[in-house]
Amino acid sequence: MTRAKVTAPGLKRRLGWAGLLAWAALGLPGVSGADEVNSTGLAVTDDTVKVGILHSITGTMAISETGSVQAEKLAIEQINAQGGVLGRKIEYIQEDGASDWPTFAEKARKLLVNDKVATVFGCWTSASRKAVLPVFEQYNGMLYYPTFYEGLEQSPNVIYTGQEATQQILASIDWVVKEKGAKTFYLLGSDYIWPRTSNKIARKHIEKKGLKVVGEEYYPLGHTQFNSVINKIKLRKPDVIFASVVGGSNVAFYKQLKAAGIDLTKEKPLLLTISVTEDEILGIGGENVEGAYASMKYFQSLNNPNNEAFVKAFKERWGDDIVIGDVTQAAYLGPWLWKAAVEEAGSFDVDKIREVFPGIELKTAPEGYVRIHENHHLWSKARIGQAQKDGQYKVVYETEDLMEPDPFPEGYK
């Protein structure tokens, strides 16, 4: 890269195009140089391409984000072993968001402006995504975001590789109603945007079926005392507890539920969660959550050749004791989807990649098969697993077809 560093994005783009035009006008021979696949000054050389990994490896979110980092590194190493992307080896620059949203924004800017990475895999909480979003839009970067989340967002600069809320909720409620005859629901979550939005979608869907929500409740993040709500649940006797409690509260909730004599394996009430992956069960303890149902798109126990290879590779790379949750798998999809899109576009330019996004598919995804929708979310299947004592889920149901992502469900537009 010989061009001087230009920071104003508009100017940069104009110069980029000008350079391209000059090159075309001069009729230079089409050598496979870095400029051909990279007209916007990204950190791409003839044999390497730099990407960014932006997660919390310190602070309170490190618990959750560690798996995503491992998955992204594994995917990058596997892609490199296969010859890289457009013949270029991927080099990653890892930054620590430190569980602090302004730090995420600052590091995102560093990756895009100073390091000129071709793409970024990162973020976990919605708060961190919202913090980096303006940065990605300003500098026209591309973020692959792995977490299942509340929806209500669609940025041209983000690919959402996890489920948005409707994909996680609608099919699972249909399933408990049809298979388990559920009629009454108790909605319980931590008090922030994701559980509240999810429960709003759930309530709407439940009430549309003519069924009843007998309680809806939120506890502050980090709350550790659930005795009162457990008493209320005992009293109202719902058929289903629909739980979206997160973080350390999760452990407290399930331990206290068990201690209060509610045995989830008896399914009276049945517990359906959208927030407990295999990762969380490590902290909760399999014996405390045994019998609960979870609605996710991926479980480590999925029985297909893609997943068997993925689990094997993951354990070889990161150790035998490790468990793989929904978000970890979604993070693994990021580098692979990016590779597929770059190769389809024949370029690392973000604008060119964006044009080819709709329809980019991945047949080797551990969850089976995924495809990018025009709204930048993924078509994928919804699945329900039942927690086992050993901390794994047994898959009891999956939708026949891929579910269409619908980040702006009716009533929210």
């Binding site: 618990i63 709500v229 004599g261 490590l282 902290g283 303890g285």
Partner: protein
């Protein structure tokens, strides 16, 4: 509000909620006792209190692993050994911290706040490096996780009972130590008038170190007990620190009795309101009440007359 429920159901609710309130009360007391000693008696704002608790929780985790692998026959009672070890571990760390850091900062309470906050970050990262960023699952013997069914609706969680008993034992021991032993007399003398205590031959440095270690050790026991009800991760201590300070400050920093009274008030208010309102609203109201009372009584519920 009550119209939907039958009379026996109502009785059960009150019984269950009463128990929930009591068990919250004992948790608060257990959390706050260690801090009440350190903050109340020594004037050190120990922001790392939560991390001392989590050291106790990790000690429990390690002890569980040890018993499971080396002497599975005794697994059913490992928890009591773990609590003892948790006390030792946290007290030793507390002693070290007092010697390295705190003793240079007496009479500078705001500096202790910053220094111990830094310590809490260091400890969190240390736990993360040693035990991994993920939460660890502390397995408990089966008999501890069950419940005693009194009627169809009323079930008493065994872990709640255990926390209550532990709290009672610890509180009694602290009472005996502080108010019925020679050492306790020395501590109270140092709190009330340090130069005079020194003048009559009390080694105030030693008293300080042991007092700090005792406070930390109790935090360790609390951490061990909380593995029954909560999570064990590098940052789990943060979940308790706000409530802990709330209880101590509300009770009146220098009074151990005040700490207990304040724990009782806050826990009962919170668990009662939690039943009628949502969890978040209950917390908001509890905090509002506490703020209101502290505005009228800045010294807290109970205040000792101390020469300054």
């Amino acid at each position: 509000m009550f119209a939907d429920y039958s009379m026996p159901e109502l009785m059960s609710i009150f019984a269950m909620q009463g128990f929930a309130g009591l068990s919250l009360f004992s948790i608060f007391v257990l959390m706050a006792l260690g801090l009440a000693i350190i903050f109340g008696q020594m004037g050190v704002i120990n922001m790392a209190h939560g991390e001392f608790m989590i050291l106790g929780a990790y000690t429990t985790y390690l002890t569980a692993g040890l018993f499971e692998n080396v002497m599975p026959g005794l697994y059913g009672i490992y928890f009591f050994v773990a609590m003892f070890l948790a006390f030792i571990a946290s007290a030793l760390l507390g002693m070290l911290v007092e010697w390295l850091m705190i003793r240079h900062l007496y009479h500078r309470p705001l500096d202790t706040l910053l220094a111990t906050w830094g310590l809490s970050l260091i400890l969190q990262q240390a736990y993360r490096s040693i035990f991994g960023a993920r939460e660890v699952g502390v397995s408990l013997p089966d008999w501890m996780m069950g419940s005693i069914a009194v009627t169809d609706l009323v079930e008493i969680p065994i872990n709640g009972l255990i926390v209550m008993v532990v709290t009672l034992v610890i509180a009694t021991l602290v009472y005996l130590l502080m108010f019925r032993s020679g050492w306790g007399r020395q501590v109270r003398a140092v709190v009330q008038n340090r130069p005079m205590a020194e003048a009559v031959g009390i080694d105030t440095g030693k008293v300080d170190r042991i007092t700090f270690a005792l406070g930390c050790g109790i935090a360790g026991v609390a951490g061990a007990a909380f593995t029954m009800i909560g999570s064990t991760g590098p940052t789990s201590g943060q979940l308790y620190i706000v409530d802990t300070f709330l209880v101590v400050v509300f009770g009146g920093a220098q009074s151990l009795l005040g700490t207990i009274a304040s724990a009782f008030t806050i826990s009962q208010a919170q668990s009662t309101m939690e039943f009628f309102l949502s969890g978040s609203m209950a917390k908001v109201l509890t905090l509002l009440v506490v703020v209101g009372i502290l505005m009228l009584r800045p010294q807290g519920l109970f205040a000792l007359k101390v020469r300054r």
